[in-house]
């Protein structure tokens, strides 16, 4: 091996030149390792930052926007909500259980580091097809990992998605969202201030696990199985019990106002936590490398500084508070060690010392400007280009394809109940969960985090993504994803407050991928701006590649909503016998990017443009219908079109339907934004229609709920029992009782 060290650490020659310019000399091995992790794609967003600036991030309720550990929103009554989404795609591809488990652990730390108690997790998951054994192994391991860590750490998993598609074969997308709640006055930022203050490392010991995780794993594509197996030591190992004690200890420290700043240790470990806190506070830091409790003997300084061992936090503490900090940590059985001191100037120095007492005159292992690790990472404006055959693709409308002989079989094939996944998660802890997994959106009671008093209001959450729409048109597809989120929230009576996103894309060195990323960001940004929804955080996961091909572009959004009056459970999606079926909204639909088209291998066509005014009106009237208890069921129309929406409403309730006015497969499976199916009791029909008319929103009667079949005149006749078993049995049949991991 003659490869220069910087390249094997993932730095380019140009990046090395930058480091030499910053230091005025060549970096030593430790310094090089520190730059390599901090300037990795994962930590620095060097390929995406230039585009992320286009998101609208301000709003009257935004307390903390992007750039901190989590976004924070004011939700009234002196209560704030912290939210963030992250990806753990590559670790989960290599080691599904631990990859997913540590993804959960990492996102929790991002939330409680803000002073918020984590109260809800959601997991948007995407796997390869169910008929691929490795994809099934990954899916089962990931679900076990989320279950094993999330349940044990004591944070309910209240929602998510599960998508199976060949684009994710060998490269699953494991996105993890967390929401926390805090009294305004407990908000704390990840910054170090006050010369002479102490940096106290809390939690687990530091081992050799996860060294270079961000640079080796997260910021490069996959090659072959053997090479991937060699990367397995770069995946960290999680301990939910350690994390649980860390949560309780940190929240107690914050309640007692014993820390001036606090930061979690995630990607890039101590290097990241020390440099970011110092950089944000405009100070420097001396780190006593041998004060860090180590799990293994003979660890090198670069290993200590870049290890991604889990369940660790860095607290900045005034010397006078140290004894009380140590006492609280002792009570929670959390290890606490003084590993550094805040210094004047901006230098991050790594010293050959075990503490302040032997630091004077100690050898300086590394001496770099803290801000240069955090803020001076390279910024790339990578070349971008639409695919050469874009025009031809768009002209290739799937509507040209003849209708299939058996629409019933196509419909049955789309039904998939995710209960096999969600029932492995505790979704009810904290007595907040009014609507849990399986609904269009989750609803949680909003209780005062300080007193426990019920506010009479609710938080709503939805996580949405659609790679098919975004593969056809990343800009319009991404806008349509936001529209779906808004409609999902409306079905439970919620108005949107804020969004976070996880942008899962392929290799940024491919101009087409950069074009997809840029277009998708514009699609999300345009929709958010028009809808008045601020973007308060995000994560970018690049280099997602399956068998040598970039994955379909997959921006995933998680949107927080507010239910202003939560006095009863929302109607849900289940039908009531005798209810009248209505379609709300009449925007354009298309088979392009539809689930039906994908199943036929048709990837062309053009998505309709989002009509924001119409979406606003439709979502608004839907909210009012739900809050006024005028509907028996409401379900957003999304993947699979009207046909799948209606079928899902039938199978969850055991009530069939009889429908007219759907004339062909395009009407049945066409997809578009801003539609919902309603089930309305006959006595409320007139009022529902009047309200829609007053709001200028189209509503059409299409049929009636009842019977034991799914019937569309001259088009479809499916036995409800067959639909129910297709829906219910799909995942258990594929994934089985199976083996358990961990």
């Amino acid at each position: 091996m003659t490869e220069p060290l910087h390249r094997s650490l993932g730095l380019t020659d140009g990046e090395l030149d930058d480091i030499v310019r910053i230091l005025g000399r060549g970096p030593n091995h430790l310094e090089l390792a520190m730059y390599s992790v901090m300037w990795s794609e994962h930590c620095s967003y060097k390929s995406s930052r230039i585009h992320l600036r286009r998101f609208p991030t301000d709003g009257p309720d935004v307390m903390v926007g992007p750039g901190e550990n989590a976004g924070v929103i004011d939700v009234g009554d002196g209560i704030a909500v912290a939210m963030r989404i992250e990806s753990h795609n590559h670790p989960s591809a290599i080691e599904p259980y631990q990859g997913a488990a540590t993804g959960v652990g990492g996102i929790l730390r991002d939330i409680f580091t803000m002073g918020a108690r984590p109260i809800a997790l959601m997991d948007p998951l995407r796997f390869g097809p169910l008929d691929d054994p490795r994809s099934r192994w990954i899916a089962e391991g990931v679900v076990s990992g989320v279950s094993g860590y999330g349940n044990s750490v004591g944070v309910p998993t209240v929602g998510g998605e599960a998508v199976f598609d060949s684009t994710y074969q060998d490269n699953p997308l494991v996105n993890v969202f967390c929401l926390g709640i805090l009294p305004h006055e407990r908000l704390v930022l990840g910054q170090a201030t006050g010369e002479g203050n102490l940096a106290v490392l809390l939690g687990s010991t530091t081992g050799r696990d996860g060294i270079g995780g961000v640079s080796v794993l997260a910021s490069a594509g996959f090659s072959d199985a053997e090479a991937d197996a060699a990367k397995r030591p770069s995946v960290q190992v999680g301990d939910p019990f350690e994390e649980k004690r860390l949560i309780e200890a940190c929240l107690e420290l914050l309640d007692a106002r014993l820390v001036v700043g606090i930061q979690d240790l995630g990607g890039a470990g101590l290097t990241c936590a020390t440099s970011e806190t110092a950089s944000r506070g405009g100070v420097g830091m001396d780190v006593y490398v041998w004060a860090v409790p180590r799990r293994e003997e003979g660890m090198e300084p670069f290993e200590v500084m870049t290890s991604e061992s889990q369940e660790r936090m860095l607290a900045i503490v005034e010397p006078d508070s140290l004894d009380r900090v140590l006492e609280i940590c002792r009570r929670w059985e959390v290890r606490a060690s003084v590993i550094g001191t805040v210094t004047e100037g901006g230098a991050l120095r790594i010293l050959d010392a075990t503490g302040p007492h032997d630091a004077a005159g100690a050898t300086v292992f590394a001496d770099v400007p803290a801000a240069s690790l955090h803020e001076d990472a390279p910024l790339y404006d990578r070349p971008l280009a639409p695919p050469a055959d874009l025009a031809a693709r768009r002209a290739d409308d799937p509507a040209a394809q003849l209708a299939p002989d058996d629409l019933g079989a196509a419909l049955l094939d789309m039904l998939c109940d995710n209960t096999w996944i969600s029932s492995q998660y505790d979704s009810q802890l904290f007595l907040n969960t009014v609507v849990g997994p399986g609904g269009d959106a989750t609803v949680l009671r909003l209780k005062d985090p300080a007193t426990g008093a019920d506010t009479g209001r609710g938080l709503a959450l939805t996580a949405d993504g659609n790679h098919r729409w975004c593969a056809v048109d990343p800009r319009r597809g991404a806008s349509a994803v936001m529209a779906e989120a808004v409609m999902n929230l409306a079905t439970v009576g919620a108005r949107p407050l804020a969004m976070v996103n996880c942008l899962n894309f392929g290799n940024p060195e491919h101009p087409e991928v950069m074009w997809q990323l840029s277009e998708a960001i514009d699609g999300l940004a345009d929709a958010c701006r028009a809808l008045g929804i601020p973007v308060v955080g995000g994560n970018v996961s690049l280099y997602n590649e399956s068998r040598g091909a970039d994955i379909d572009p997959t921006p995933v959004v998680a949107v927080l909503g507010m239910v202003d009056t939560l006095v009863r459970r929302p109607p849900g999606i289940g039908l009531v016998d005798g209810g009248r079926l209505l379609v709300l909204g009449d925007g354009p639909t298309s088979l392009a990017g539809s689930l039906w088209a994908w199943r036929q291998g048709l990837r062309g066509g053009e998505l309709p443009e989002l009509d924001v005014a119409s979406l606003q009106a439709t979502a608004g009237v839907l909210r009012s219908l739900v809050l006024n208890d005028l509907v028996q069921a409401a379900h957003d129309v999304s993947s699979g079109g009207l046909g799948l929406a209606l079928a899902e409403m039938a199978v969850v309730s055991g009530v069939g339907w009889s429908v007219a006015r759907i004339h062909d497969h395009q009407g049945l499976f066409g997809e578009g934004s801003g539609r919902a199916v309603l089930c309305v009791a006959p006595e409320h029909l007139a009022e529902v229609e009047e309200r829609c008319e007053a709001a200028g929103v189209a509503v059409a009667r299409i049929g009636e709920a009842g019977g034991s079949a799914l019937k569309i005149k001259d088009l479809l006749d499916v036995d409800l029992a067959a639909a129910t078993s297709a829906w219910r049995d799909r995942l258990p049949a594929a994934l089985g009782g199976g083996t358990t991991q961990g």
Binding site: D426, L431, G737
Partner: protein
């Protein structure tokens, strides 16, 4: 006088807030008791809540039984004080020898969060004295190790002495004889895998946990 319930908190417990909230919602008084406490003086009843005490390391409840508070719980129970173990609390009570049997992994070898239907099999216990015999209650379950097992002799004893207080209508985890909850000989110590505190508010979808928690408050008031 308002009954005062102590809710024991071990490192790794996670249902302690829920138990406190549900008890207060029903008019009782509840307070957290740290696992290093050596006395339960002043409490009229004790709840060992769900969660993963001490990380469930070794096996659920195996370490928690050695926490100092368990000596106090044992003494409290010996004096006839009502003690209820919910989920992980049930596991801890069996490990501590305050209840017979053991909880092993679910028959499906999967964690299971769901709603189960329980039938009240005895109203002679600290957890069921206000419930209706034969009533069917919709109560959430949330466990990996909820598969109750015991020796044939113990099972016969439990049946003969009317100590099986709750049974599953549809067995979700493989528990012997569909057992969801049992009590001790004195009928003041009860363990169950389902979570009555999760069925205590209309917005949560069921209020069927109330008769059980009200039973505990009634037993506490008699202290």
């Amino acid at each position: 006088m308002t009954a005062r319930v102590g809710v024991v908190l071990f490192p790794g417990s996670n249902c302690e807030f829920d138990a406190v909230e549900a008890i207060r919602h029903l008019g009782g008084d509840a307070e957290i008791v740290w696992h290093e406490a050596s006395s339960l003086a002043g409490f009229d009843a004790v709840i060992i809540p769900g969660g993963f005490a001490h990380g469930d390391y070794l096996r659920p409840g195996a370490i928690a039984r050695f926490s100092p508070v368990m000596e106090a719980v044992t003494a409290f129970a010996a004096d006839g004080g009502p003690v209820v173990g919910i989920c992980n609390g049930f596991q801890i009570l069996t490990e501590a020898g305050l209840l017979p049997g053991a909880l092993q992994k679910n028959a499906g070898l999967k964690f299971r969060c769901d709603t189960a239907i329980l039938r009240v099999e005895s109203t002679n216990s600290a957890l069921t004295n206000e419930a209706t015999l034969g009533a069917e209650l919709r109560i959430p379950i949330n466990h990996f190790e909820g598969n109750y097992t015991c020796s044939t002799e113990t099972l016969a004893e439990l049946r003969d002495a009317d100590r099986i207080v709750l049974r599953y209508v549809e067995n979700p985890n493989g528990s012997v004889d569909d057992i969801a909850g049992v009590c001790n000989e004195g009928r003041n110590v009860v363990g169950l895998m389902p979570h009555p505190e999760r069925a205590s508010h209309e917005l949560l979808g069921s209020t069927d946990g109330r008769p059980l928690l009200l039973s505990l408050l009634a037993a506490a008031s008699r202290q």
